[in-house]
Symmetry: C2
Subunit: 406 residues, 2 copies
Amino acid sequence: MSISMTSIPATKRPSISRRALAVPPSPIRKLAGFADAARQRGIKVYNLNIGQPDIPTPPQYFEALRSFNERVVSYGHSKGHIKLLEGWSRYYQRKGLDVTPAQVQVTTGGSEAIQFAVTLTCDAGDNIVTSEPFYTNYYSLALGASVDVRPFAAEPALGYCLPARSVIEKAINEKTRAILICSPNNPTGTVLTRDEMATVVQIAEEHNLFIISDEVYREFCYGGTHVSIWQFPQVAQRAILIDSISKRFSACGARIGALISRNEAIMDGALRLGQARLCSATVEQLAAVAMMDLDEEYYAGIAREYVSRRDVLIDRLQKMPGVHCETPHGAFYAMVSLPVDDADRFCQWMLTDFNLNGETVMMAPGAGFYATPGSGRQEARIAYVLEKPALSKAMDALAAGLAAYK
Amino acid sequence: MSISMTSIPATKRPSISRRALAVPPSPIRKLAGFADAARQRGIKVYNLNIGQPDIPTPPQYFEALRSFNERVVSYGHSKGHIKLLEGWSRYYQRKGLDVTPAQVQVTTGGSEAIQFAVTLTCDAGDNIVTSEPFYTNYYSLALGASVDVRPFAAEPALGYCLPARSVIEKAINEKTRAILICSPNNPTGTVLTRDEMATVVQIAEEHNLFIISDEVYREFCYGGTHVSIWQFPQVAQRAILIDSISKRFSACGARIGALISRNEAIMDGALRLGQARLCSATVEQLAAVAMMDLDEEYYAGIAREYVSRRDVLIDRLQKMPGVHCETPHGAFYAMVSLPVDDADRFCQWMLTDFNLNGETVMMAPGAGFYATPGSGRQEARIAYVLEKPALSKAMDALAAGLAAYK
């Protein structure tokens, strides 16, 4: 070879794309390095930063792993294994929602369903509107696809409910292609009422938008009934439902989700996007099938557990001076207002400079759940995914940390 | 609810994005429905359309499934499980390529590594150049990300080797951000020589491009030595290596791949894209680890098997009147020129209208591997992924089919 390493000036190097630079680091995972360092110093860190439930994955998952008896771990259909398509359909039919296997595209986690939905509805430069604060990965996946997220502010003092119609419509412009809702909500725990859903439906019809409805927390509704976008037949051609087994079956690491729609162009497009990445993992799909027929008692038991955790959390938070948090009615998150200038710095400080009897807590700083600069700086998201004794100890550490923080 | 189903004219419906419409159906999978129908009529269909090896997945994979003993199938690190990052590194070190765990991003199949590479290097409206015919999913994944593919033609008569530098440079324009190479090549089986790789390196330096080097077929080199982009230190900041366990370990359904680079901005961006989709499947990653230390005898045994299959295939093809196919030197594909007007129609006819003693063959029509309209219409891709007796019977059916086709 005749190529010299010095033939090209060092400054002449390709730079990565602007969109890749724009994708933010995960606020949920950004403090992981500080938590690791704390653990290495012998500190016990309670992980309330990430929606990783500690509920055991059902035994059906593990039995499916052990009983897989093919010689070759081969590709499956790009749409998803037929048994899993049928499994999703059965799950929905039991919920009273008429979803057929043909209306399901199996995805690699809810994440891929969101990515597909963004790509299917938006060209580069288009945008989606959604309530703020929002699940950060909506923002990351949209920016990675050259799609903007235009937020409308949910009101913290009103439990982050849907704002007035005029507020939502102000976010919509000529490049808006979809309105994205998440109920029960990550990161706020808010559950949209039937009236709020109807408002979303009306807005979508009036502005000719798709509705991307993330319902992965459907089973985590405390007190009210979940309202699905599938219950509004007038938006049959607009609705794209996002689902996942991750939280429902405490199987986040299986990476199995679904995109569901009655719109044939959307389903055809989803299949072609699916073919481009071949298939979701074969064994994980079969392991998911085994859990699709868990009965209502399974879900009810888990909901009871989370309600009792939530009550411990909210009771403790509301006793801390300067802390504000409305009682969330779904999912397993709470957005909490903290009496600090900069929650990002405080959350980091809790890992680097503080411990209570050798214990501390990791939370997700709030600013990462906002696109609007300056918003969420005094908030943090707490995921109540630990058993009550651990949660209680984590609250001891948070209370002491807030008292000690200048 | 006061919303009427007739309040909005039926014509006013949102349409899916232009980019989603542009993503083509998979040429590898497009005839699947006809094959299913043939099977339902009792016809035995030999699948030479898809790169799905019939070599058994190594026992280590299944042992890892069975021995997974966590209570919860939880999220892993977005970069990949540390054991798998180290496993990739060990694999490369044994090959004499100095890859560290930090230089590896675990991906959900090679597919996701390609998608990440396209997003990391290109903004919407940018393009990559690559040789044609190419693996269709490069095209699909690029179009889905609003990125163009500008092809330069490899020469069928010369075994689809790299064309002259001037031909490649004609494809490059001011929006070109990367040159994508695949060696050994899917769909042609061509292996790039060191001189050809050096030409690519020179072009990338001169035009300030990234080099995306898909090396998933590295272990399938028959006769020559594989040359990796990693062996060219002068492009350390330009090179993005795509890898996968799918073909190497006959584990296509595990969906485990890797993106590998020495460029820190690329690795940082890949991690943020990785965080946006959380992680690759936890159990599949651990099952992959177990296979990373398979020794050279494993690879050599598989290469011997594929060489003998290739020899059967090429010998049979070259005896068919009007069929042209150079001997491929790597991977397990051959692009074959057929004496038909439209290989798409012929491949479909083989499934719908033909059988030889109740047997027929499924191939991937060639046009799907080209972006240039009209190209590849007389070609088909054959994957020699079946054992020799089955391959031989498939060739019997193909020869008889060609003779019977008007």
